[in-house]
Symmetry: C2
Subunit: 342 residues, 2 copies
DNA sequence: AGAGTTTATGAAAACATTTGCAAGACTGTT
DNA sequence: AACAGTCTTGCAAATGTTTTCATAAACTCT
């Protein structure tokens, strides 16, 4: 039993290969009766068209490359899912690659995706190596930055403004009267999202005349376990902050668990705010106050943007779309203790 | 500026296209000096080889298709990541598809992946439609079932024995003296993982002479929010179970949050056990007792299995690998109140 | 009924690569 | 110096599709 060709199907249907091809790609160009014959032959032979051959002809490969730091983190899983659903509905398949926050390996991954002749490429964030950019420019593949929005970015981008996220979170704490503030962030060297959030928050605190104590600033990766461990240490003594601004909800969850373990009442003695509003943040006890990043919306908008870009003939057609943030006040933040007069 | 061909590179290097091809695929067959020349030409021209053309020739496409219910759920994100890392290290790229627990759309997705001529296919679970199976058999693509292990499965599989998972969890509750037991599970109609867990647990309870009350059995999807809502209702009255066996950790987290909200002490007045040991389960307060499914190990083992299967000439080379489960006792389960004599 | 127009199909070139075969260039041995 | 063997390389066929062009058939209108 040999795998059926397009010419095998053509013979079976008594037509030419060209006609079979047309039935698959431009059904309206062929007579209904012939179409029926061909469809029958396809059915009967179990023919599955070969996208590789199709792609080789210079046609679409019908794949889109997506590069994420990791998919294991709640942060990206949701956006990947929404993005996949959106482009999948348009007939595209996702080629996934993850680099674990390593820009060098990102270059290799992008190269690999280009070898597969993806019709477009989406990457997370705006920070990428020069080599990566050069590669993509040379190949003239539409490129989209996901997750971040920046009005004056070099890349087309769909996402949220992380500076605003940092600002919203910081302003909330300031409004509640907190002045003894700790920040729990990952390394910001090659993570533009964390960097934008942190610098914006810092600026707000400075403007409010709040001095950030070095001993209350800690650096942890995006991991509940490590965030909890770090916060257990941070919150152990008497001299602790009254509020914690966390780079994202995963870290914030760790912080809340640390407080629970130490018997520190949240929000009575400690306020905690996150960024992201991940699955579970609304349900935990106390429910997490956070800046909501609508991951679904980002994924969908990005999917739509990239599909329209693929349709366009001009190679660097620019889309830029900002998804709105929203401060979600829940139970993990409250008025600073020193503000409450008896 | 035209995109460089293999013949363009060949000209630049002063050799034939065949030689360039050999440099890319069988470097040991060509003289070091020539190889150097070609590599230089590749570098200089920015040539990126076309996998589509390569795949068309009947060679490997260097892609592996992965079909999951969803990637947005912590359950699968981790295993997807480990699987991807493993096959990626061997030069393969992942073609991802998700069907949202819908077996009909699974058929279409598998078809789409086969159009791309994936070198192998991995799917989650052992329950699949007849159409899906037929399709894959016809195409002679190595197929691997991920996540589940069954000694007598029709498919090669790498994963854990879900019946054992259910058994371990149930036995733990029985050992602690619980007899008033609730179960929180998703619909088991087309989810073999949930079904295996539930039937095994039920069998254990029956053997121990425990009668399961219908009013304590609830059905919820894998969602923290819905699990919490359902458990709030289940635990509201006086007449409630002393222990909850949850289909997985996501549901168990929802249950614990519900108890916290209602002021029910865990584990003093209510024990909760999950299955999975997802990220965060160990850190939450109280830390979740659960049956650990080593997602990383499953992903890695599956990746290795599938890569070796691709190497094999025989189409249905069978691998079957069982990953071990482990009961992790933490703080969310305790001895049943009625067992404690003053 | 005939000219003009539209619609439906087929032949063949093109796409970018791999590989079996064969020939030429070396190597070492006698 | 001739021979046998081993390396290295190029030629050309093959892979499965799409698309342009041409042609034939089927309408439409006067």
């Amino acid at each position: 039993m040999i795998k059926p060709d397009i010419v095998f199907v053509a013979k079976l249907a008594g037509v030419s290969p060209a006609t079979v091809s047309r039935v698959m790609n431009h059904p309206d160009l062929v007579h209904p009766a012939t179409r029926r014959k061909v469809e029958l032959a396809v059915e009967k032979s179990g023919y599955i068209r070969n996208r590789a051959a199709q792609a080789m002809h210079g046609r679409r490969s019908a794949t889109i490359g997506l590069v994420v730091p990791t998919v294991a983190n709640t942060i990206f899983a949701e956006v990947v899912q929404a993005f996949n659903d959106t482009v999948s509905a348009q007939g595209f398949t996702l080629l996934l690659a993850s680099h674990g926050y390593d820009l060098d390996s990102e270059y290799r991954l992008v190269r690999k995706l280009l070898e597969h002749r993806v019709d477009a490429l989406a990457v997370v964030g705006l920070d990428h190596s020069a080599g990566t950019f050069r590669l993509i420019a040379e190949q003239r593949v539409p490129l989209l930055a996901l997750w971040n929005y920046l009005a004056d970015s070099a890349l087309p981008c769909v996402g949220v403004d992380n500076r605003e996220a940092g600002r919203l979170a910081a302003e909330h704490l300031v409004t509640l009267g907190h002045r003894r503030i700790g920040m729990v962030f990952p390394a910001i060297f090659d993570n533009d999202r964390a960097r934008d959030r942190k610098t914006a928050a810092t600026a707000v605190f400075r403007a409010a005349g709040i001095e950030l104590q070095d001993r209350w600033q800690v650096e942890v990766p995006y991991s509940i376990a490590q965030a909890k461990a770090a916060c257990l240490e941070l919150l152990a003594g008497e001299d602790r902050p009254s509020a914690l601004l966390c780079a994202n909800d995963v870290i914030a969850q760790g912080a809340i668990y640390a407080a629970a373990r130490l018997g520190i009442a949240v929000p009575a003695s400690l306020s905690v705010i996150g960024i992201g509003d991940f699955a579970g943040s609304a349900q935990m006890e106390p429910a997490l106050t956070t800046v909501r990043i609508p991951a679904q919306q980002v994924g969908i908008a990005a999917g739509q943007a990239i599909v329209t870009a693929i349709g366009r003939p001009d190679p660097d057609f620019m889309i830029r779309s900002r998804v709105e943030l929203e401060l979600i006040m829940r139970a993990s933040t409250g008025i600073a203790a020193e503000m409450i007069r008896p």
